[in-house]
């Protein structure tokens, strides 16, 4: 019998960690706050009770040292999953991630490997401000030897986490905090994949919306409203960054001839530029007009909601740009009105009460 159920993205991660700890006796789960009462937004809840304090543990505030210690533990036969509640904290460990984890297998001629998962959470909202809500996926994706994934759906969150634990390479697992509450169907029977490839989440013939992480949710929202006006947008979830799956995007452009890319990162630091330049080199001429990029402004996000709420583009901006590309500007006001939400822009969902 298939094991299929509808759970949230956050619950899917917790289930994957639970199943990983059960399946791999050498796996450990470590990070600042992992066993504390809030359990990394409940994604590690109950795991210490189930697997013991030797395998599910907190750590000193030594991000670089602990990353190196997890690399060494991996060399010694363990399978660590290291958690950072904010990707900003992982910046303290860039030396160990870039100089050691990413290069170890290569520089020792394939004789040694580093089975390590680093969970990092990106996000926005409730005034997290300049140092608690950065989106640094492109920076890490530009380091050869790392695997970088940012799953969007609950099903991918579950399977990518288990795949990352099983993988013998360092994997940076990037979660957008605003995905945690979103429900999805998780089918546990899916076979293991190699943490590569994009996924078409909605098919369409008029325009390709290639999006990263939480921006995929925004693209899906835009696509749903566009469909009410007879516009069929294809939504491609760019869930794996190393390498970027340009083939899937090119295949979609082959149908639509139009490309809009949406990323949850400042424009100057967006991995979307890699996608666009790769497509320009390999599929120049397939696009009927220049592609567009929806991304954040090129400055940090301020804390105050009165200005931060104007920082983030979303479904409205995606839809507006798509309508321009399709030469359907007259529909803009109607579509945007439909997409407007009465939910404050610094809240991920109605049930949320701050702080994060």
């Amino acid at each position: 019998m298939r094991d299929v159920k509808t759970i949230s993205y956050g619950e899917a991660i917790r289930e994957a960690l639970d199943d990983g700890l059960a399946q791999y006796p050498e796996m450990i789960l470590i990070g600042e706050g992992v066993p504390d009462p809030k359990n990394i937004f409940a994604t590690t809840e109950g795991l210490r009770e189930k697997y013991g304090a030797e395998r599910v543990l907190d750590m000193p505030l030594s991000e670089n040292g602990m990353t190196g210690i997890c690399i060494g533990a991996a060399l010694g036969g363990m399978r660590p999953v290291l958690v950072h509640q904010r990707i900003d904290f992982a910046l303290l460990s860039v030396d160990q991630i870039v100089n050691n984890a990413a290069k170890w297998c290569y520089m020792f001629d394939g004789l040694q490997c580093v089975p390590l998962v680093i969970r990092v959470i990106i996000g926005r909202g409730w005034g997290q401000g300049p140092q608690h809500s950065q989106s640094l996926q492109a920076m890490f994706a530009q380091v050869p030897g790392l695997r970088v994934v940012m799953p969007t759906t609950a099903n991918d969150a579950y399977h990518f986490m288990l795949d990352a634990i099983a993988d013998n390479n360092p994997v940076l697992f990037i979660e957008h905090r605003w995905l945690h509450h979103i429900n999805g169907e998780v089918d546990k029977d899916r076979s293991r994949d190699q943490l590569v490839g994009a996924a078409v989440l909605r098919e369409g013939r008029d325009i390709t919306l290639a999006a990263f992480s939480q921006m995929t949710i925004e693209a899906l929202k835009a696509a749903a409203v566009l469909a009410e006006h007879g516009i069929e947008a294809e939504v491609v979830d760019m869930r794996c960054l190393t390498p970027l799956d340009t083939d899937s995007v090119a295949e979609s452009i082959g149908k639509t001839g139009l490309l809009l890319v949406a990323d949850c990162a400042p424009e100057m630091a967006s991995i979307a530029h890699n996608l666009l330049s790769k497509l320009f080199l390999s599929h120049y001429g397939m696009m009927r007009q220049p592609p567009r990029l929806i991304a954040y402004p090129n400055h940090p996000v301020p804390t105050s909601p009165f200005i931060a709420n104007h920082y983030y583009p979303g479904a409205e901006e995606i839809a507006e740009a798509a309508l321009e590309m399709l030469d359907k500007r007259p529909l803009t006001q109607t579509v945007k009105a439909k997409l407007q939400s009465d939910l404050a822009k610094d809240l991920p969902d109605r049930s949320f009460a701050g702080p994060f």
Partner: protein, 327 residues
């Protein structure tokens, strides 16, 4: 303590072997065929030898950019070290690492890398994995040792690692080779006037210091420290004072640059770890000139044969360059 004549002779032989290999590398380095940064450990041999004398193949070590001595004392394959320096496929890293990236898993030499402090937490992580294994009451824990310099003591990651190692009582030995210089910058320009090992003690480690140019002293300090780590008493720290004779990187001496006070190098050469041990052996009537000559001859032959082997190795295939990005 060094109990027997055979032990002391063996320590001397191991130090002499490292010295002669480093000298041979320096001589051949000038031929411009070993095209990688190479940091020789001439003058510092006693530390590598005195510590590794207590480690078995099951025990592991991590090292740094100046790692030839540690690699050789742990039993690393000489021929594959030399092939690595020449960039050949048979090198211990297939030519991908050079002098600063060595490995010999069969010998328990996990790795050396040249980012200062880079391998220190890795050694702790490895020791953590060992600590998590079932404790063997007869054998104790396998021990992990990591070698680093006085410059590394300034890296934050070292202190992060000492904190965690003490917290988890890891079977880990920190070996600080204090040669007083980070490249050409003197310790007094970098650290206040206090002793390094006392900071380690404040982190909760069992710590001691000693003369790193006396192999019997290193041997005795390491014996206690490693026994403690093996028995589960937690991480150990040794600060061993020594001096590097050659330039920071390369085959030559560089005293003419003037970054050392006049006469300092000469004083340290009088404290040569080999000279002292040979004198002790001769004074005690424990060795004779014929045995010393036999040692030299046997080493000269081993080194020559190793170079001959390395020099006939093959260049890595260009297409292999893209392999092993991922496991």
């Amino acid at each position: 303590m060094v109990q027997t004549t055979a032990d002391l002779k063996q320590l001397y032989y191991q130090m002499l072997r490292i010295r002669r290999i480093e000298e041979a590398i320096a001589k051949r380095y000038r031929e411009q065929q070993m095209r990688c940064p190479t940091h020789l450990c001439i003058g510092e041999e006693a530390i590598a030898v005195g510590v590794n004398a207590h480690l078995s193949v099951q025990d592991k070590i991590f090292s740094n950019h100046r790692g030839h001595g540690h690699y050789l004392a742990k039993g690393g394959d000489l021929r594959r070290l030399l092939a690595e320096l020449y960039g050949f496929a048979e090198g211990c890293c297939g030519g991908r690492g050079g002098s600063m990236h060595l490995t010999d898993l069969a010998a328990g030499f996990i790795a050396s890398t040249p980012i200062v402090g880079g391998t220190v937490p890795l050694a702790a992580g490895y020791a953590w994995a060992e600590r998590n294994k079932k404790f063997d009451t007869a054998q104790g824990f396998n021990v992990v040792a990591v070698f680093f310099g006085d410059g590394c003591f300034e890296e934050g990651v070292l202190h992060e690692t000492m904190n965690f190692a003490a917290l988890k009582k890891l079977p880990l030995l920190f070996v600080c080779e204090n040669n007083q210089y980070s490249v050409m910058t003197r310790l007094s320009e970098r650290q206040p006037d206090r002793e390094i090992y006392k900071i380690a003690a404040a982190h909760g480690l069992q710590a001691a210091s000693g003369d790193g140019n006396r192999v019997d002293e290193v041997f005795t300090l390491a014996e206690t420290a490693i026994a403690n780590a093996r028995a589960g008493h937690g991480p150990q720290f040794l600060e061993l004072h020594t001096h590097r004779w050659p330039e920071h990187c390369g085959p030559n001496e560089d005293d003419e640059l003037g970054y050392r006070p006049p006469g300092e190098l000469a004083v340290w050469k009088q404290r040569c770890p080999l000279l002292r041990t040979r004198q002790a052996l001769l004074d005690g009537g424990l060795i004779n000139d014929a045995e010393l000559e036999a040692m030299e001859n046997s080493l000269a032959e081993e080194i020559e044969q190793a170079f001959q082997w390395a020099l006939q190795c093959s260049r890595p295939v260009v297409s292999s360059m893209e392999l092993h990005l991922y496991a």
